[in-house]
């Protein structure tokens, strides 16, 4: 059974396990809470006793002791409550931090392929709102219930000692309040799941609206998008109004029970005084003790509502955690060999779900150390899936892939990714500085090394032109830099890793074609000098010129592979292109006037500049 299907108690247990509550702090908070509640009961009952007793003018000595006690309780009540709150919140926030990091840890192995289909706005809502709701598990559920039950028990006992029947009546009214108020709040309150779902939807719609603002404005659809947000908002408002109604109803029940308890206890007291079963001094004590006993009861009605919130939020978080992790590291990962890291893929098959078509279907690929291979093919031919497989983002369901002669799945994912550096098609640029973004490739890199990587990605002049240089902020998702600069930042990051294998997935998208081709040529020359293998996924003929070999993919496998031909000619036949297109493309390539370079992979020249040159 997955965590998401757990019953409520199971959800709470799982949450407690993850949050590792600081039990000692919680126990201390509970103790302080009970003492605070009892101080209230004592203050009320004691002052009632003082006034009642004094009315018969017994002399100061008779009331002095109780009077002093009342004053002490009046002073103590505040500090006790203060201590309780501080300790309880501290405990809750400690767990909160654990829950957040736990969530990150759960999401991390799922990216990128496992999180397809999740909206980042929804995830944001989960991590901020849902996790925050969890703190109420202590603050508004466990503690108030514990404190109320303990304090009410003591108050009832006190009243029962004075007048047993009154104690019984007070106990009955308390039980009715403690059971019916939460029940009413929970039963009449609307579905928490629906509300949480709507909150997630609202957050996602708002993120969508803000991120797609340019398109919405250009197409004059901003009003429609706003209307959608408002519709969701309207539904949420209706729900919170129903909830307020239910909360109000449950608070009203508590007040009615309090009234019944106080009135009944007073009536019993009057009867007892008349029949001389009870001393006159106790008549005022009884109703006031009853008032004190009820003081924390409203918190229990709230606790019931919050408990269902906590469970709903917890279930949503556990649901995220139950997404299967696509790739798990072997228990004893093999070491990535030093030296030649030849890539060999044989009959590889891969798909992202049992109902989905094969993204790779019998793919073969060989890249010897120092080799420079282009991968081309129409959209959906499986190029990016091959990249996912090579970086161990997604496992192969058939066939094999090896690195340096050792099966890929024998390595830890982190080790593979240190050996195979990726410039992703969707490479993310983090909010922060240029330096922070590039240093992600190798955090300990010196300034000189960073500058070198920027220079190899042809960014030095741009960076030099900025007032803040490498410390320039790039904006959220790189919003402050151009498309080409984004790509090169991603490239600089990958070059900084200095890995034996460099995988470039559409590195030139967003660059004009000459710039792109020049960038690729520079990177490939650089790789040649260092003996780095290059796998370049592209759709641009120009980019392929400096490569040794081009593999044309179609339907998840190799459609054609050429080493001796002019690579641009091969690229022209990508996908379903017929002879006419091949001719046309050749013409295009010819017009750019660059002869193709065909250095046979594994040639002595390539080998000589191999790993030995790198180290």
């Amino acid at each position: 059974m997955s965590d998401a299907d757990l019953p409520s108690a199971g959800v709470v247990r799982t949450l407690l396990r993850i949050g590792a509550p600081p039990w000692r702090r919680l126990a201390l908070a509970a103790l302080l809470g009970v003492l605070g509640a009892l101080a209230t009961v004592g203050l009320l009952a004691g002052s009632g006793y003082v006034v009642d007793r004094a009315a018969f003018r017994p002399g100061l000595g008779a009331i002095a002791g109780v009077l002093a006690a009342v004053e002490v309780l009046a002073f103590l009540r505040g500090p006790l409550r203060y201590g309780e709150r501080l300790v309880a919140h501290d405990a809750a926030f400690r767990s909160l931090a654990r829950w957040r990091v736990w969530l990150y840890d759960r999401l991390e192995p799922l990216a990128p392929a496992g999180l397809r289909g999740w909206r980042s706005g929804d995830l944001l809502a989960r991590v901020t709102d849902d996790v925050d709701v969890l703190q109420d598990l202590y603050l508004r559920c466990l503690l108030p219930v514990g404190v109320t039950v303990a304090a009410a028990t003591v108050a009832v006992t006190l009243v029962a000692v004075v007048l047993p029947l009154a104690g019984a009546v007070l106990a009955a009214s308390l039980v009715v309040a403690l059971v019916s108020a939460p029940a009413v709040a929970v039963v009449t309150g609307t579905s928490r799941g629906r509300e949480a779902e709507l909150r997630g939807r609202l957050a996602a719609e708002v993120v969508d609206l803000l991120q797609a603002a340019p398109e919405l404005l250009a197409f004059g659809r901003e009003d429609a998008a706003l209307a959608a947000v408002e519709a969701t908002d309207g539904e949420l408002t209706a729900i919170s109004r129903r909830r307020a109604w239910a909360t109000g109803a449950s608070a009203a029940i508590v007040t009615v029970c309090l009234g019944a308890g106080v009135t009944a206890v007073l009536a019993l007291g009057v009867a007892a005084v008349r029949s001389h079963d009870m001393g006159t001094a106790m008549l005022a004590v009884l109703p006031l003790a009853a008032v004190g006993a009820f003081e924390t009861v409203p918190a229990v009605a709230v606790a019931a509502v919050r408990a269902s919130d906590v469970v709903a939020a917890g279930r949503r978080l556990l649901e995220l955690a139950s997404i299967p992790v696509p790739v798990i590291d072997p228990e004893r990962p093999a070491a990535v060999p030093e030296g030649f890291l030849d890539i060999a893929v044989r009959g590889a098959r891969l798909r992202y779900g049992p109902e989905l078509p094969w993204a790779l279907d019998g793919m073969d690929l060989d890249v010897e150390q120092g080799g420079r291979v282009g991968l081309v093919g129409a959209s959906g031919a499986g190029k990016s899936s091959l990249v996912h497989a090579l970086l161990r983002f997604w496992p192969l369901q058939g066939g094999s892939a090896s690195l340096g002669g050792i099966a890929l799945d024998a390595f830890a994912q982190g080790d593979v990714r240190r050996a195979v550096a990726l410039v992703d098609q969707e490479a993310h640029v983090f909010a922060g500085t240029i330096r922070q973004n590039v240093a992600l490739g190798r955090p300990k890199a010196s300034d000189a090394e960073l500058a070198d990587a920027l220079s190899r990605a042809q960014l030095s002049d741009w960076v030099a032109s900025l007032p803040d240089g490498m410390d320039t902020q790039v904006g959220e998702d790189g919003a402050q830099v151009s498309g080409g600069q984004r790509r090169r930042l991603a490239l600089a990051r990958a070059l900084l890793v200095d890995a034996p294998v460099l995988v470039l997935d559409e590195p030139t998208a967003g660059l004009d074609k000459e710039s792109g081709a020049r960038l690729v040529a520079n990177v490939v020359d650089d790789a040649r000098a260092r003996g780095t293998s290059v796998v370049l996924v592209t759709h641009r003929t120009e980019d392929l010129e400096p490569l040794d070999r081009v593999v044309v993919m179609d339907n998840g496998r190799v459609a054609r592979e050429d080493t001796g031909l002019a690579v641009s000619e091969v690229a022209g036949s990508a996908g379903t292109a017929g002879p006419a297109q091949v001719t046309g493309s050749t013409g295009t390539a010819g017009s750019t006037g660059s002869p193709s370079r065909s250095v046979p992979e594994g040639s002595p020249a390539a080998r000589a500049g191999g790993p030995s040159g790198r180290h």
Binding site: R57, Y82, L124, T263, L266, H428, D512
Partner: protein, 603 residues
């Protein structure tokens, strides 16, 4: 001096601009206050009835039967209080949600009005947090704190007046202590508000950092830097714990001070009454009634303080929201009579056959335009002069960063010239209603954003009334038919936020299909085929050629492959954020000149 008055003068605790927004919901607010007052009357009635029953039984030997009507009255007072609190809760919720929804609407509307350039500099995560959680937090402020603050100013005065009518010494004690409460509230409130604002900023930064880490998870993993993201999250969340706790400590200390004041008040009143009862200076009835009522003097004040602290998150969020609402957009053009509302004259874009002298009636014209973004070194565009006549196909070429997208943004009305003028159809764009102008535009952005929804939803944003045939034609023209046909749900297939399940090339083709569905006379293309392979590109050129033929086209691309017939090519040089490496090949050192740099390629 009422609590609210004190706070209003400070301008911090009750923000004038926020309070002004309650006007729409004043009725509910008054209901909430009325309910609170009625409830206070019930409390006094309870105390009086309880005291009179005890006094009658103890001193006047009354029997249970004698006091039965008063006991019934006591029970009735409790029931009345219960009903009132129920009504109050509903009214409070109504006030809060109405105002929160209105603010959210205003915030989003304003963010859209400020436009894509401004949004590009904002963190979407932070802004969306303000629009969702922030406005929700304001519910507490408007629904609970505000009515309670007003009640706290009225109810204690009423109760104190009653106490004064019963027993002067008790009144003096209670009055002296109650007068301390607003002082304590203001002192602690100020402390807490400043801290909470800091905390809100941290919460916002945590949220932005988390969203950033989440989006970048594939990249973090590709570089084996998952631990870095984990550390970022852990650091942010730990900082949040400490900031929140220190904020709460202030709130708790303030609650402590108020409980102290209330406790001492009740304790002192009990002591003084007890001593005076001993001396026979006060009746048991009066003593009991005053004793029972005395905590109620402090209760509305304590509740207001508690609600104030509970709503400080909302107030901090309000700061953020109001600061966005205060950002001014482009200054309205100085033009008498309906400035900014003029629609461009339709005849410039329709099939008006009247020949016009070139230049004077250009559809798109930039006059010596310079665009500088604050904090971005060199200007993004410098001295651009450009003209596109009706039906003309013009390409903007130049290295990346030379200002091609900025130019497209100028004509979309997203980017405003720092210097110079943008003229569309003979009118200054800044004097036109941008929305009306954009109805004549079809735009293919460089990085199209896909909304959460189906492929069809994403196509229909270009024209909600498009027929199935129009959609099918656009899909076919963009070369998406075989992809859509291969999907289990066809056009109804959902695409994720940011188009997670579609490649960059497929997204670009969706954007092209959008443009076709838009069917507008002016077409702006920003690197429309950057992500497409040569084969697809060639196919698109064939299908788009006839479609573009009758339209005015401005295409930004290094080599504008998509546009088969090009009348002119305008070369942009290095302006800003450009690699000098590429600048030399264009032979221009920062200047842009549409006229001189144009290569006559008229066919």
């Amino acid at each position: 001096m009422s609590t609210t008055a004190v706070e209003r003068r400070r301008g911090g605790l009750i923000d004038r601009r926020l309070a002004a927004r309650v006007s729409a919901t004043r009725r509910y607010l008054l209901t909430a206050v009325g309910v609170g007052l009625a409830s206070t009357v019930c409390v006094v009635a309870q105390a009086v009835l309880l005291a009179s029953v005890i006094s009658a039984v103890l001193l006047h030997d009354a029997s249970l039967g004698d006091v039965a009507p008063r006991l019934a009255g006591l029970a009735a007072a409790f029931v009345a209080r219960a009903s009132l609190s129920w009504a109050g809760e509903a009214a409070a919720q109504r006030t809060g949600t109405s105002v929160a929804s209105a603010l959210r609407r205003q915030l989003l509307r304003h963010a859209l009005d400020l436009g894509p350039v401004w949004l590009g500099g904002e963190r979407a995560g932070e802004l969306s947090l303000a629009a969702t959680r922030g406005t929700t937090a304001l519910t507490a402020y408007f629904g609970r704190y505000l009515p309670q603050a007003v009640l706290a100013a009225i109810a204690p005065v009423g109760i104190l007046a009653w106490v004064a009518s019963q027993d002067w010494p008790s009144f003096l004690i209670l009055f002296a202590l109650a007068a301390l409460v607003p002082v304590a509230m203001v002192y602690f409130g100020r402390e807490s508000a400043a801290r909470t604002r800091r905390q809100w900023r941290r919460l916002a930064s945590l949220s932005a950092r988390f969203l950033d880490m989440l989006r970048g998870l594939p990249t973090l993993r590709a570089f084996g830097r998952e631990a870095h993201g984990r550390r970022e999250v852990a650091e942010a969340t730990d900082g949040l714990r400490r900031t929140t706790l220190s904020t709460l400590r202030v709130a708790f200390v303030s609650a402590l001070a108020l409980e102290f004041i209330a406790g001492i008040g009740t304790g002192l009143v009990a002591m003084v009454l007890g001593l005076r009862l001993l001396g026979g200076h006060v009746s048991l009835y009066t003593a009991l009634a005053v004793l029972l009522v005395s905590p109620e003097v402090f209760l509305p004040l304590r509740r207001a303080a508690a609600e104030f602290h509970a709503s400080t998150e909302g107030q901090a969020a309000a700061d953020r929201i109001l600061s966005v609402l205060d950002v001014e957009g482009t200054p309205p053009p100085e033009q008498p009579g309906g400035a900014g509302q003029n629609a461009p004259p339709p005849h410039f874009f329709g099939a008006d056959p009247t020949p016009r002298a070139p230049g004077r009636h250009a559809v798109l014209r930039a006059e010596d335009v310079t665009v500088a973004f604050p904090g971005r070194g060199a200007p993004a565009l410098k001295g651009l002069s450009l003209e596109v006549d009706r039906g003309e196909h013009v390409a903007l070429v130049g290295p990346s960063g030379s200002g091609k997208s900025t130019t497209i943004g100028l004509f979309l009305g997203f980017v405003h010239p720092t210097v110079g003028r943008v003229v569309v159809g003979g009118d200054d764009l800044s004097t036109l209603d941008a929305a009306a102008w954009r109805r004549r535009l079809a735009w293919v952005p460089q990085r199209p954003h896909l909304l959460h929804g189906s492929i069809e939803d994403n196509l229909r944003i270009a024209n909600p009334d498009a027929t199935a045939a129009q959609l099918a034609r656009a899909i076919a023209m963009a070369g998406l038919s075989h992809i859509v046909d291969g999907l289990p749900h066809g056009l109804a297939t959902p695409v994720g936020e940011g188009g997670l399940s579609l490649s960059a090339g497929e997204r670009q083709r969706i954007a092209l299909a959008r443009a076709v569905i838009r069917d507008a006379p002016v077409v702006l293309l920003d690197e429309p085929v950057a992500h497409l392979d040569a084969h697809t590109e060639a196919a698109l050129r064939d299908t788009f050629g006839p479609w573009l033929e009758s339209r005015t086209v401005l295409v930004a691309a290094h080599r504008p492959e998509l546009v088969a017939r090009l009348d002119r090519v305008v070369r942009l040089g290095t302006a800003a954020l450009v690699d000098a490496d590429f600048g030399h090949e264009d032979g221009s050192g920062g200047g842009v000149d549409g006229a001189l740099g144009a290569e006559g390629r008229r066919q």
